[in-house]
Symmetry: C2
Subunit: 192 residues, 2 copies
């Protein structure tokens, strides 16, 4: 496979999705995130909103993927994991691209030529950013960030058995708050 | 303080010291590592070799800093920690520089304008590199790497209470094996 894939894992509010989208634009390759969720939705028949929530184990709180009873067979979340895995492999086969989230780093390991990136930032920077960018309620954005981070970490850990945010799992980890989003895009575009 | 400091933490064999030295050369600023150890040696009266070993808790195995009996007062290693802390603060005060290892990231936190970097690489890359660069015995370089990593992690954890290699503790984490040492130097020089 000669396609080159940038996978981006990111803390909520760190601007990882923005960095992915802008890097892809500069490189003239597609960026999959919301688009990917829609594709999963169409293929699986689940509603897009349901998938978005299940994707991070929201339905029963952040521990739900770990606590679900799998003695009854695969959970809905397990089925989604398989659908999304298949889709990500197909997308990587089709063309060079940027994939944000969805454990793409793990799914494509050894199967595609990847640059695996982790984007993070301080709690202060992210709290400030989600209020400004997403118009999130100003009350307790820190609590919301912690909850989202926990969900992503638990989801990632459960399906990949790799620790989320451990530097050694990535080619490159960038603090978007300290370096700035423009500089992160520049580094990724240049490295690609 | 208007000096700008690059601190480099690194896995053994990842080329972090080489990256630090070459970045400093390109920027025309000093790089402290072996030189720093000598300074500590002169100030403390300990031999340079002893300090090099104690610096990573080698004397009693990698757990020695945790297991030492401090009821008897500060250990030799604690004294060295204080001396090295003082020295690093002085160096950062004196001029812009690169400091490799010695928990400089933690020591200078909130006290200097720092770019905190973590350099890592796969076990295979590092094993290959220490055999080629340092002329290490070829037998079981992986075991030596694991032991060195454990020492550094334990030392760092004990004195800083921060997890070594956690992406969120750094502004930038680079996989030198995947990106190449030249590219790492280029990214750091450019960011500075």
């Amino acid at each position: 496979m000669s396609n080159r894939i940038i996978t981006i894992s990111r803390e909520f509010g760190s601007g990882g999705r923005t960095i992915g989208r802008r890097t892809a634009e500069k490189l003239g390759i597609p960026c999959y995130d919301a688009e990917l969720i829609y594709k999963i939705a169409k293929e699986s028949g689940f509603s897009a909103q349901y998938i978005k929530e299940e994707g991070e184990g929201a339905a029963g709180g952040w521990l739900s993927p770990i606590l679900s009873d799998r003695a009854m067979g695969p959970t809905n979340q397990d089925k989604l994991w398989l659908i999304q895995r298949k889709l990500i492999l197909e997308l990587a086969e089709k063309s060079s691209c940027v994939i944000v989230g969805r454990c793409a780093d793990f799914i494509l390991k050894g199967k595609a030529d990847c640059l695996n990136v982790f984007i993070h930032a301080s709690m202060e920077y992210r709290a400030d950013r989600i209020v400004k960018e997403y118009g999130e309620r100003e009350e307790a954005p820190e609590r919301r960030l912690k909850e989202k981070d926990k969900r992503r970490a638990a989801y990632h850990r459960f399906y990949t058995d790799m620790k989320w945010g451990r530097a050694q799992n990535y080619h490159l980890c960038l603090n978007s708050g300290a370096l700035g989003i423009d500089k992160c895009v520049e580094i990724l575009t240049d490295l690609y």
